[in-house]
Symmetry: C2
Subunit: 94 residues, 2 copies
């Protein structure tokens, strides 16, 4: 049986990736609201996705406020699709 990429087999990271698959970019606040997660948890999981090269993270400013913008990378896209394929084996459906 194919392995389920453990980096993606996590509720919050999967939710983040799912959002980023369907949008050009998303900032920290938007992701926190969309995934209904706490800022702490989100921060940690974004770091892991970034460390894996699955997303890019850019910190900038809007006026005087910081803004953290995330995008999925090509590698992240591939990994997500592979994860979905592997999952299909486990579910025997979809």
């Amino acid at each position: 049986m194919k392995e389920l990429n453990p980096l993606l087999h996590s509720q919050l990271r999967l939710a983040v990736m799912s959002v980023l698959m369907n949008v050009e970019e998303a900032d920290f606040v938007y992701l926190r609201e969309k995934t209904e997660s706490t800022a702490g948890n989100l921060s940690v999981q974004l770091d892991k996705l970034h460390a894996a090269g699955y997303i890019s993270i850019e910190k900038g400013f809007v006026g005087k406020k910081t803004r953290t913008v995330c995008q999925i990378t090509a590698k992240g896209r591939d990994a997500f699709e592979e994860y979905v394929d592997a999952l299909k084996q486990y579910l025997n459906i979809l």
Copy 2:
């Protein structure tokens, strides 16, 4: 966003449930081979599924050898289907 049932959101438990969804019953050895897991890990995860009421476990004999037979329960079936539905949200593939 719907929660992903943490009892099912585990690689091995999900694999076990997936097998049991498609077969009338399965014994320990078959599950170990089919899921390519170690006996220790499988034993622990079967207990958890049993404790949750998702599977039944019957220990008997074939000749002089012990045989542990598992079956998915109605509750397990429901939980599995709900898990799949929730997952679809995360994967955006309705």
